[in-house]
């Protein structure tokens, strides 16, 4: 089905198409739009925070509202912006990179998206229903259990629902990458982005259930009177810290690893060289993933776990610097001896290297437990994790969007606007966060609504706020770029960058079924190999035949809607037990959908050989 046909069907049909789609490429669009919107919301929250901190003793926003802002900024950026945007890229690219026609579980893929979206909506409903969550994105108990109103309830239910979506998405990608690779696509021939997607999915699988349990305990404490974190009932607040960080630390790697994958692909493509030390890169990726589960307590050095535990976790944390260092040097040596093209995508990758090196080195500094007693919960930490998450993940997402935009939408993003975005955002980013290292050491704890005059914190905060505005300008220019490109830019071929991997061997945007004939992979960078041997495209692994594709379904949407309704029931039954009817209604909808899905056969449909041939002739 070409896009022209879809456009003729009218707006209603267009919406229905996206509500029911199980096509990973369209799900990527959904993730991109939703994640992008949440990114703008989170960015707006960040701006309000920085305006509040532009001068001492400011009262631009009230203390209570400020706490809601900082909580929602963190929660939104991590769960509702970074994660879905990564899923957008993974959905758009991974099946294409492994030569698959679809993901392993198209239905679940769609369910994952709708769960995330409805969870995100619940989280943000707090703004309009008496106050957003205000206990920090880490929601440490007992502050989170005693926080009045329903704010934290929105946090609990929202994250629970969107977390379920993420877990489903993770399993989907695991099975897709393991089971759906094209003939010849061995593990050690997979592009690094696919590798990082695989490791990230594994981390999601093993990290998110810990958050699920933590959220359940918090929910029971808040809504049903249990006493997990209530000291007067014998509860223990440290349990939440453990559960949260057993999830929370791997979460950081869940975010950063795909960005590493993006940079590996981008640097290799635009220096026209094979990735240097591919095997070491794969090894380093898995090692980082593995170590990511061993270090959660470095977030708790000030909790009082004792010097032995602190030392062990300090050393384990430092160990992560080794594989990360290997990666940095491999990237540098991928560039070494290459012929480097610098465009928007490449700028983000090149900007990433120094930025992330700063973030990584401060990471090692933070790992030194006794020194962390000074850094902990100050702006030093704020600076560090923004260097890693903005300088790593957000730069990675920008690089990915510039790089794969033509693959997703058939058009190259405007280069001038792309460069303006990079330079404003890059400069603003360093202005905002570099100085915060010093603010922290000079005695400014994080999550401070205001700071006092006369403590030498004024200049740093002012500079930081100015930087934040530059970043905002960069982000706005990017949005303008997207609109401008979709209106003005010409269509491009399937391979605008002289690419190396399978996704560049098919048209842009790819047809519904991706590959007319499953490709035969003959090595790392399969398209490059074919190009070097003088062929135009990839050798097919099979003759042209009927293609089996899954059917669209509205069930994922309704199922998620059911949980959305049930979520409100859970939240409000504390005030009035009759809200339990909402729980029953919502759960009934969801379970009913599950039953329908289970008993109703869905065998998919076929695209016939004749139609494929006809389409080929048209192109």
């Amino acid at each position: 089905m070409s896009t022209a046909v879809a456009q003729k069907k009218g707006f209603g049909a267009f919406i229905w198409d996206y509500l029911t789609t199980v096509d990973h490429k369209k799900i990527a669009h959904l993730y991109l739009v939703a994640g992008g919107l949440f990114f703008l919301v989170g960015g707006l929250e960040a701006l309000l925070i920085r305006i509040q901190l532009i001068k001492p003793d400011n009262d631009f926003v009230s203390a209570g509202f400020y706490n809601e802002l900082l909580t929602m900024h963190g929660t939104t950026m991590i769960f509702l912006a970074a994660m879905p945007l990564i899923f957008a890229i993974m959905n758009a690219v991974v099946p294409l990179q492994i030569g698959a026609r679809d993901v392993a579980f198209p239905f679940l893929n769609s369910l994952g998206f709708w769960l995330f979206l409805f969870g995100g909506l619940i989280l943000n409903c707090g703004w309009f229903l008496g106050g957003a969550p205000d206990a920090g994105w880490t929601a440490y108990a007992p502050l989170s259990t005693v926080s009045p109103g329903h704010g934290v309830d929105f946090y609990v239910l929202g994250l629970q629902i969107s977390g379920a979506g993420t877990l489903i998405g993770g399993i989907n990608f695991l099975v897709t990458i393991i089971n759906m690779r094209a003939p010849g696509m061995t593990y050690m021939r997979m592009p690094l982005f696919t590798w990082t997607a695989l490791v990230t999915s594994t981390l999601i699988l093993f990290a998110f259930p810990a958050l699920t349990v933590g959220l359940f305990l918090l929910m029971f404490d808040r809504l049903f009177g249990s006493g997990f974190f209530n000291a007067s009932m014998g509860g223990n607040s440290v349990i939440w810290e453990h559960l949260f960080w057993i999830f929370g630390h791997p979460e950081v790697y869940i975010l950063i690893l795909p960005a590493f994958g993006v940079f590996s692909d981008v640097l290799s493509t635009f220096s026209k060289k094979r990735l240097f030390g591919y095997t070491a890169m794969v090894f380093a990726t898995t090692l980082i993933g593995f170590l990511g589960f061993m270090v959660w307590a470095h977030h708790m050095f000030a909790t009082g776990l004792g010097p032995a535990a602190n030392s062990i976790f300090a050393i384990a944390t430092m160990a992560i610097a080794v594989p990360t260092g290997i990666k940095i040097f491999n990237w540098l040596f991928t560039l070494w001896g290459g012929t480097i093209t610098i465009n928007s995508a490449m700028l983000w990758a090149l900007g990433f290297i120094p930025s992330f090196t700063i973030g990584g080195t401060t990471g090692v500094m933070l790992a030194a437990a006794a020194a962390d007693y000074q850094y902990h919960d100050t702006y030093f930490v704020v600076a560090h994790f923004h260097y890693v998450i903005v300088g790593g993940v957000v730069f990675g997402l920008f690089a990915a969007m510039h790089y794969w935009w033509p693959k997703m939408f058939g058009k190259v993003l405007n280069e001038t606007l792309g460069q303006i975005t990079f330079w404003t955002f890059f400069t603003g980013f360093h202005l905002t966060f570099f100085i915060q290292h010093f603010l922290g050491l000079m005695g400014m704890p994080r999550r401070y609504w205001t700071f006092l005059p006369g403590q030498h914190l004024e200049t740093g905060n002012l500079v930081s706020s100015i930087g934040a505005f530059l970043m905002a300008i960069g982000a706005i220019v990017f949005v303008i770029n997207v609109i401008y490109t979709s209106v003005k830019a010409p269509k491009v071929s399937g391979d605008p960058w002289d690419g190396r991997t399978l996704e560049w061997s098919i048209p842009s945007p790819p047809p519904h079924y991706n590959f007319k004939q499953t490709p035969l992979v003959r090595g790392l960078d399969p398209l490059w190999i074919e190009k070097m041997e003088g062929r135009k495209g990839i050798t097919p692994a099979e003759p042209l035949d009927d293609i089996h594709m899954p059917n669209p379904s509205i069930l994922p949407f309704i199922m998620s809607l059911g949980l959305f309704i049930a979520g409100f029931g859970f939240i409000y039954q504390v005030d009035n037990l009759s809200y339990l009817w909402l729980v029953i209604l919502g759960m009934g909808i969801t379970l009913g959908c599950m039953l329908t899905r289970s008993v109703k056969d869905d065998l998919g449909h076929h695209i016939h050989k004749e139609d494929l041939e006809k389409e080929g002739a048209e192109q």
């Binding site: 220096s271 094979r274 040596f333 290297i353 090196t357 020194a371 400069t427 010093f438 050491l441 006092l452």
Partner: protein
Amino acid sequence: MKGWMGKFRALGIFGFLMLVLSGCGKENLSALTPKGYGSKAALNLINISLGVMIFVFIVVMVIYAIVIVRFRKKKGREDYIPPQTEGNKALEVIWTVIPIILLVIIAIPTVAITFDLADESAADESLNVNVTGNQFWWHFNYEGEEIQTSQDLYIPTGEKVYLNMKTSDVLHSFWVPALSGKMDLHPENENTMYIQADEEGVYDGKCAEFCGTSHSLMDFKVIAVSPEEFDQWVEDMQNVDPEAQPETADAQEGQQLFQDNSCIGCHAIGASPAATGPNLTNFGDRTTLAGVKEHTKDNIVDWIMDPESMKPGNKMADANYDVSREEAEKIADYLLQLQPSDITPESAETNE
């Protein structure tokens, strides 16, 4: 390419920033001007790790600069296809082994200092203070001394003072950057740390664990005085007569009002362990009101009339009392003359 100019400009701005920042923050607040055992140890460790890390950063940036300058696509060589290097064993071993060595250099002092700062062997023969964190103030109970204070913690210089810390509500974190790193307060378990001030002074302390609306207004002071002065202070505090008659008539009326409005129900004066609100025994000697405001009569009156406006979310906003502004002024008079000791924050600042 204009990108280059931007990069240099960015570097220039950083250089300027570094200059501005070469001041290390406010004395007695900043962790970069350490005055105590823990903060000096931490700064040593910070410097070691920072040194190693700057070395790493320079190495990366040198290679980075070479790469970007030398290997850009060149005019006339657009079709050049570079050799597809797979890797280089020797190089890869080097950049695995050297970082490990560098990390060991950091790890050894890390472990040593971490254990040193957790050393509790001297706790029994040292001064012990039980610290309670509250939304949004601090309470200090000198173990075995029959002294209770809030907000201002007096300690002697040159010796370890052990803090046994617990919270009465949500988590807090005790942080006096110029003296020592921080430690969290939990409701179910006591956490112990020690602080030691090497010089006399009034040190700024802050709550470093997010604790609600007025988290940012939960400042306190550690007042380090010479051991002799500290002994004097202990003696004065132990001899406080909570019911002593103030000298002026206004203050006497204030004392009466303080009792009539059950202020005393939450705010103890003297060594009573009740601490629903801050202990006011030496309120007249405080350096700040509520940790963050100037300690003036006007501010105290404003506070009594509307505590919520000065520290949102504090419990006094819900307290049941009804005083007029004139009455509040008399209460303030009474409170300001609660100065049981000659050892005050000034003793810490003037003495050498």
